[in-house]
């Protein structure tokens, strides 16, 4: 099993969710985050005060999947979240040791 973590542009969340649902992913977790990468920040001016805003708002999604499904998940996210502009985000994949469904006590693949 793997955890696929993706940092995406906030307005792409619904498209990514639809793409993952269509390939059979049954759940994911979403967090509002801030960060920076190649897309730098921007400048805000309030009366005379200029502030460089270097952390931009992004959405982090985490989805746990079977190992053989990882490539499909990555291409689904990539396809849905891509705009071609700097700041589209990144995808990270981790090994997942164990999973438990709290309601039933099922474990591993049956819990996903």
């Amino acid at each position: 099993m793997k955890i696929v973590m993706a940092i995406i542009k906030p307005f792409k969340l619904d498209e990514v969710r639809d793409a993952l649902t269509s390939i059979g992913v049954q759940g994911l977790t979403v967090t509002e985050v801030k960060g920076y990468g190649r897309q730098k920040g921007h400048t805000e001016i309030y009366r005379g005060a200029e502030y460089a805003v270097s952390f931009l708002p992004k959405i982090k999604i985490e989805v746990a999947v079977d190992t053989q499904q990882v490539d499909k998940v990555i291409s689904a996210i990539t396809g849905a979240a891509k705009t071609g502009q700097i700041g589209d985000g990144k995808i990270f994949v981790f090994n997942l040791e164990n999973a438990v469904r709290i309601r039933t006590g099922e474990t591993d693949a049956a819990a996903l």
């Binding site: 309030y46 009366r47 502030y51």
Partner: protein, 495 residues
């Protein structure tokens, strides 16, 4: 036969009665003009004037709470939102209480040219029938309404100051500073600029001089007129005009704010950490409420619901809109983007500048005043403040003091009837006085300087007194955590 006789008698009696009634009426009519010169008609209340002034008083309260409170609150960081709202709310409440105890008396009774006396402390002698003078002969409003109206001015002025030392002032210091400031700075300045004997006292004394026979009677009448003319504040005696408070409210609070910002020092991390406004939505609501309430402030300062109030109203529309546009375009040209904060700051600057001019300038004068004050204040808050590196947190000095000075001097020019202004009434002769620009502008400068010095020095002393008594500034940890939690034990947003 009997009937006819009776009917004649009845008709005759009726005719007689009617004749008596008519002749009584005719006698009364004839008698009235004969009695008139001896006793001029007593001043009368006009329900329209009173209704307008009741409304205006409430509109000025609306400017402060929630208008000013939200305008300021939106400009600070979320951790200090409640502290700013609390400073403004506390100020309104404490000044209201002080006003009826001794404030009204110190500002609006005779005494010296610098401050009034205590003859109306605890509103002594004020009743339902008490009258307050307006700007027309023979027209008064109920004194209770005048007390309420002026109370709201006394309340908003110190509330303007709190923006300068926002996010770092100890609450107990605010609690002490505000009553001290209104007592030693506001009441005297209000007295100096606005206190006078009123139109009827002046006109009556002037008529007595005209009517007096040459000789001792004439000398006595002239002495009486001089006494009435001298029963006024010093700035008023100089001939300076301030319709709704350019000096009393805006220069007064603006310089007190600058002195406070300098004495208390910069906020932690000023110029290094981001201190962006936390809700410009709130600030826009607040600025808009200020604009709406300002019609009570400016048009209400006419004290009567007549053409003068209408002039003040249209000027308060025009100058404000022009200043908001002027600031917006100046910012667009210089900084690259037209910001909402710029537009609403220009709106407030325009309101400030038109305040002293509102009942004196013509609408085209107000338009020019707005177009000038927008860029001037924009230059002060964006360039001068950064160059001098003082932390006037919410630009009380840059908008209120500078805007107030532009307005006060501008009023001296725009009052000129040749420029469409309303001119200045000379109540001794009952017509608009001759206008001389140099004389008027010099009087305006004297008013500005008096306010700057009195409030600047007075405020510095009072800040020092408060610093010795309780300390002006919160500890560093409290400033980092925010005043809402550390001073008030609550937070603005529990989400």
């Amino acid at each position: 036969m009997t009937f006819k006789l009776n009917s004649r008698v009845v008709l005759g009696l009726a005719a007689l009665a009617a004749g008596v009634l008519i002749s009584d009426w005719a006698l009364a009519q004839a008698a009235a003009p004969a009695a008139a010169p001896a006793a001029p008609p007593a001043p009368t209340f006009n329900k329209g004037d009173n209704a307008w002034m009741l409304t205006s008083s409430v509109l000025v309260l609306l400017m402060t709470i929630p208008g000013l409170a939200l305008f300021y609150g939106g400009l600070v960081r979320p951790k200090n939102m409640l502290s700013v709202l609390m400073h403004v709310f506390y100020t309104v409440c404490i000044v209201t209480v002080i006003w009826v105890v001794y404030g009204y008396s110190l500002a609006f009774t005779g005494g010296s040219p610098y401050v009034g006396g205590l003859s109306k402390a605890f509103l002594m002698g004020v009743t339902l029938d008490s009258q307050a003078a307006t700007f027309s002969n023979g027209a008064t409003i109920h004194e209770y309404i005048y007390i309420c109206f002026q109370m709201t001015f006394a309340a908003i002025t110190p509330a303007l100051i709190v923006g300068a030392f926002a996010e770092r002032m100890r609450f107990s210091a605010v609690v002490l500073f505000i009553p001290l400031w209104v007592t030693f700075v506001y009441f005297p300045i209000a007295h100096m600029v606005w206190y006078w004997a009123g139109p009827d006292a002046i006109t009556d004394a002037a008529k007595a001089v005209a009517a007096a026979a040459a000789g001792p009677a004439k000398v006595a009448a002239q002495a009486k007129l001089d006494e009435v003319m001298a029963d006024a504040g010093q700035v008023f005696i100089w001939g300076a005009i301030d319709f709704a408070g350019g000096t009393v409210v805006h220069i007064n609070s603006g310089i007190a704010g600058l002195v406070g910002a300098l004495l208390i020092g910069k906020r932690l991390g000023y110029g290094k950490e981001a201190m962006a406004p936390h809700s410009l939505t709130m600030s826009m609501i607040g600025a808009s409420l200020l604009w709406v309430g300002w019609f009570g402030f400016n048009a209400g300062s006419n004290l009567e619901a007549n053409g003068g109030a209408a002039l003040a109203m249209i000027n308060s529309f025009v100058a404000t809109a022009a200043a908001a546009l002027a600031w917006m375009f100046a910012e667009w040209a210089v900084k690259g983007k037209p910001s909402l904060l710029g537009a609403i700051s220009g709106c407030v600057a325009g309101l400030v500048a038109v305040t002293p001019a509102s009942g004196y300038s013509g609408p085209m004068g107000a338009l020019v005043l707005g177009l000038i004050v927008g860029p001037v204040c924009f230059f002060f808050v964006t360039t001068v403040k950064n160059a001098l590196k003082y932390d006037d947190a919410l630009d009380v000095f840059g908008v209120h003091c500078i805007g107030g000075i532009v307005g006060a001097i501008g009023t001296g020019i725009l009052v000129n009837p040749a420029l469409g202004g309303a001119g200045i009434m000379d109540y001794t002769v009952g017509k608009i006085a001759d206008y001389d620009m140099a004389t008027q502008v010099i009087a305006q400068f004297k008013a500005v300087l008096t306010t700057l010095v009195w409030s600047g020095v007075g405020s510095a002393i009072l800040y020092k007194v408060v610093d010795v008594l309780v300390g002006l500034r919160v500890p560093v940890e409290a400033e980092r955590e925010g005043l809402d939690i550390t001073a008030h034990g609550e937070r603005a947003y529990n989400m």
